[in-house]
């Protein structure tokens, strides 16, 4: 029997998109302005910047939440423009795999720098 006390995946995805949309503006603005006002963007300076625990935490959160938001958005775009069938299934599968890979790689990189 289907559990009717909980919304289904569509509702969950809709809400997740709204929640990520609320968190991302301050997080994204912080990142853009941090880079825009940074005096030194050399590799050495940026390694030191990322190593700061606060920066690393916020950057990792930014990467994770952005990837989630991006996946939800691109999923809808694919559904709108790619004909249903094998092509759409494969495209969505690749989209999911690439996005998860990006998130994992990004968070790993930040942690690697911050914890080394």
């Amino acid at each position: 029997m289907k559990d009717k006390t909980r919304g289904d995946a569509g509702t969950r995805d809709w809400l997740a998109q709204r929640l990520t949309s609320i968190v991302l503006p301050p997080l994204g603005l912080w990142f853009v302005f941090a880079l825009a006002t940074a005096a030194d963007l050399s590799a050495q300076a940026m390694l030191a910047w990322v190593a700061n625990p606060l920066h690393a935490s916020l950057l990792a959160a930014l990467i994770l939440i952005t990837c989630w938001h991006m996946l939800l958005g691109l999923h809808v775009v694919v559904e709108d423009y790619v004909q249903a069938g094998a092509l759409r299934t494969v495209t969505l599968l690749l989209l999911n795999i690439v996005t998860v890979a990006l998130a994992v790689a990004g968070v790993w990189a930040v942690l690697e720098i911050a914890l080394r």
Partner: protein, 126 residues
């Protein structure tokens, strides 16, 4: 049967009012920003395992072509952000009156221009 359902072509067919233009721009900037996410992750990975690759990419981004790219990307970021807030206000149930919709469209465009200008004023006067 499922594959016979129509898709969503629209750009080649309709003449769009401002609200609709912003709507499709919201989607287009979203897609464009995705490439930025890829670049961001690649830069983080480069910093961690191959700082020379980071430096080479940063050098390109410092040049005029790279800066132009970044200006366009930040404009896309701010447009998507401002229009996204507009969407959140709608989701909360406010602002559906046509006059308010048109007004918020203008606010979105002006805010985008202002934020982009402020950002690059900060960068180029560093």
């Amino acid at each position: 049967m499922d594959s016979e359902r129509p898709l969503s072509p629209h750009l080649q067919v309709y003449r769009l009012p401002l609200t609709a233009v912003l709507s499709i721009l919201h989607r287009m900037t979203g897609v464009a920003l995705s490439f930025g996410v890829v670049l961001l992750v690649l830069m983080c990975v480069a910093l961690a395992v191959n700082p020379d690759a980071y430096t080479a990419t940063a050098s390109f981004l410092d040049g005029w072509a790279g800066q132009a790219l970044l200006v366009v990307w930040t404009a896309a970021f701010y447009l998507h952000l401002c229009n996204g807030v507009r969407h959140l206000v709608w989701d909360a149930g406010f602002g559906f009156e046509l006059r308010v919709v048109d007004a918020s469209a203008l606010v979105t465009i002006v805010a985008t221009a202002l934020l982009t200008a402020v950002t690059w004023a900060l960068v180029w006067t560093r």
